[in-house]
């Protein structure tokens, strides 16, 4: 009897050890997701993966605007810290680079079709992989544009854009719609201008000066162009420039969705909302480059880049790191994974990517096929992003309301940049 008991216990011990070892070897994945609207899709995908492979995948989604706070709190957790995180820009790389795995030579990297969207540190190590890309520009309602007597082909540069917009604005009452949607400067909308529109002067300046790293100072060479396009936005629009401070992003979207404006500056991510929530016909939608009067801009394509990069926590156990990389490879190669990525993130720069139905990407690709140059996301170099943008937004708001001078915008742009750079050193 005793013998049997001993044997039984020994067997139990062996099994438990074996299963323990197996679990240890398999590792697990913990993804701290950035996008609230993709939460459900990630949870579903994680479940499929677990069912197929037995590897645990935990997905936690940070609340909107709380990613940094959440990430900081979660990264304290040692063994329970996220194994997979999102790093958006240069500043994120500087902050978290010390604990990110060098992804050079991994299967994930080999699946990429382009390395343009990756974040590479000073030593040339690829620390984060751009897993999707986005493009922004001016979204045009073709139907309305044609009603006003123009076609997209009429708009080739800033001059022609201004001519069309001015004319539509002048005839707004008669037409029943205006040129531009409200350029809201509420927090839900201001990033379109302090981030995306500000990319125009930054991109051209960096291109002239050959800047490839976060610069300590900028000159603001093209701020006159920034002013031109901004003035156009706030003049040729139905919104009161004095009240832009509280105009929201959803308000602008609704104006466009309901056919009250022809032009709407935003990005590829708007496609689902416009065709879904507002039932817009996709054939009526086209995205054109942002023109601001820079020489040669008729050859510009859309502004393409990403703030969505995956990075692996090198402080995680070897097994967990491996599990994470395996999971990512599965996401970008498997049927289920690529389908989800195409639905949630549009085109992804991986070999097995599925074609998304988003027409804006077709616009982006068409422009590239015509041999035009990509306007990259130069704003990814912004130091102390939130504070720099807050300064620009404040000055823009005052300028638009007639309470401040354009000089203040220039000062926030240029001097603010230098200060923000200093602050994070």
């Amino acid at each position: 009897m005793k013998k049997w008991t001993a044997l039984f216990l020994a067997l139990c011990l062996m099994f438990s050890l074996a299963s323990f070892a197996a679990a240890e070897e398999a590792g697990s994945v913990y993804y701290l997701n950035f996008k609230p609207e993709a939460d459900q899709a990630w949870q579903d995908l994680a479940k499929i993966y677990t069912d197929q492979t037995g590897v645990q995948v935990k997905v936690i989604t940070a609340a909107s605007g709380q990613y940094d706070t959440t990430l900081t709190a979660e990264m304290e957790k040692g063994d329970a810290a996220p194994t997979l995180i999102q790093v958006g820009n240069k500043q994120g790389l500087d902050t978290w680079g010390y604990t990110l795995l060098d992804l050079t030579g991994t299967d994930l990297l080999n699946e990429l079709t382009t390395t343009d969207f990756n974040l590479v540190d000073a030593e040339g190590k690829t620390k984060a992989v751009g897993y999707c890309y986005e493009a922004f520009g001016i979204i045009v309602n073709k139907e309305l544009l044609e009603k006003a007597g123009y076609t997209v082909a009429d708009i080739k540069d800033f001059e022609s854009l201004k001519k069309v917009a001015d004319d539509i604005h002048a005839r707004a009452a008669e037409l029943g719609f205006d040129a531009f949607t409200s350029a809201g400067l509420d927090g839900s909308s201001s990033w379109r201008f302090s981030g995306h529109l500000a990319n125009m002067p930054l991109f051209y300046e960096f291109r002239d000066d050959g800047v490839t790293e976060m610069p300590a100072t900028i000159k603001g060479t093209y701020l006159e162009n920034y002013k031109k396009i901004w003035d156009l936005y706030i003049t040729d629009s139905a919104a009161d420039p004095k009240k832009l401070a509280t105009a929201t992003g959803d308000q602008a979207e609704a104006e466009f969705g309901e056919g009250k404006a022809v032009f709407y500056q935003n990005g590829t991510w708007e496609y689902a909302n416009l065709t879904g929530n507002f039932n817009m016909n996709k054939d009526n939608l086209v995205m054109i480059p942002i023109y601001c009067g820079v020489a040669g801009e008729e050859n510009a394509a859309l502004c393409a880049g990403t703030e969505n990069c995956w990075a692996v926590n090198s402080a995680a156990s070897e097994a967990n790191q491996k599990a994470t990389l395996d999971f990512l490879k599965w996401v970008v190669t498997s049927e289920e994974g690529t389908k989800m990525m195409a639905e949630q993130f549009g085109p992804i720069p991986f070999k097995a990517a599925k074609e998304p139905e988003n027409v804006f990407f077709q616009d982006a690709n068409k422009l590239l096929a015509e041999g035009k140059y990509v306007v990259t996301w130069a704003f990814n170099f912004t130091p102390d992003v939130d504070n720099w943008r807050a300064g620009v937004v404040s000055a823009l708001t005052q300028y638009s309301a007639g309470e401040g001078q354009w000089d203040a915008v220039v000062s926030e742009f240029v001097d603010g940049w230098a200060k923000c750079y200093q602050a994070i050193q």
């Binding site: 990264m75 010390y98 300064g391 404040s394 000055a395 708001t397 007639g402 602050a423």
Partner: protein
């Protein structure tokens, strides 16, 4: 002198019958709260002081930088401005909230119809979180003002003051109602017979009696203003920015903004420590002064 002697007297009695037995049960009475206080405040705060001498991303990834963060904090014009601005908001809201809530309390103890209902209504804003009511007021102000409040420093200032009053008058008012009801009727009667007018009665009889209420209300309104974050963030988020300084930014917001950038967290922590020291000093002075007044009365 006399008072002190009395106190020692009762303390002696106190110690034999009450003090010792309680003290023996330290583990039941004080220890649980103290342990939780250490977990929920003291230890995190001490860790914060430790971190203020470091450059850090997470608590486990730190680098000693000495007083660098403090120098950074002092050199930050926005921080210095935020300190003065916080003091200004605290001062003005302290006066306004107390005067208004006293006035409302005074009116509501004048036997007017529906005063119980009004007391209830005034209390309601206390029940809503700061972010929600900030948003609602922002919409309201946007309707009323010629330009959005984030454009003009004074709009932002008074907007914040109005919201603070709206939110806190109800609570403070109830404390004052209590104080006013404790004013002895016969003293008021005597004053009236002596021919004292309304103001004189208010000044010499009513106010001294409600002094304890004033102490509590001052303390609560002051600490509320010093900690204020939600409403400030929602209403203006510090805007407008003039000469490189966010003109309507209060301390908590300034510190929280620095916290949002990983490389500034050390400086943010140093600001927090500095702010704490300053506020603690002010609170001590305030408590001592009002307490002394109370004793004098």
């Amino acid at each position: 002198m006399n008072k002190k002697a009395k106190r020692t007297d009762s303390a002696a009695l106190n110690s034999s019958l009450i003090r010792r037995p309680i003290q023996r049960q330290f583990a039941i009475f004080l220890l649980p709260t103290f342990i939780c206080f250490c977990i929920g405040f003291l230890w995190p705060f001490i860790q914060g002081v430790y971190l203020s001498f470091h450059k850090f991303t997470t608590i486990s990834h730190v680098e000693w930088v000495g007083f660098n963060n403090y120098i950074k904090a002092f050199n930050d014009a926005g921080f210095r401005h935020a300190f003065g601005y916080t003091a200004l908001v605290a001062g003005v809201s302290l006066v306004l909230i107390n005067v208004l809530s006293f006035a409302v309390a005074y009116a509501l103890t004048r036997n007017i119809r529906g005063s119980n209902l009004f007391r209830g209504v005034f209390f309601v804003p206390n029940l809503i979180g700061g972010i929600v009511l900030g948003y609602i007021w922002q919409m309201l102000f946007d309707r009323i003002l010629p330009v959005s409040m984030v454009n003009v420093t004074s709009y932002g200032f008074w907007g914040l003051i109005i919201v603070l009053c709206w939110q806190q008058v109800g609570y403070m008012m109830i404390i004052y109602v209590a104080g006013l009801m404790a004013v002895p009727e016969d003293m008021l009667e005597a004053a009236r017979i002596d021919g004292a007018n309304g103001w004189k009665t208010l000044w010499h009889i009513t106010l001294p009696t409600v002094m304890p209420s004033i102490t509590i209300c001052t303390f609560l309104t002051l600490t509320n203003s010093f900690k204020l974050y939600d409403q400030n963030m929602v209403l203006t988020n510090g805007a407008p920015k003039m000469k490189g300084v966010f003109t309507t930014e209060m301390m908590a917001l300034n510190i929280a903004k620095s916290f949002s950038t990983a490389n500034q967290r050390g400086a943010a922590q140093a600001k927090a420590v500095l702010f704490f020291i300053l506020v603690a000093a002010i609170s001590i002075i305030q408590l001592t002064v009002t307490h002394r007044k109370e004793v004098q009365q």
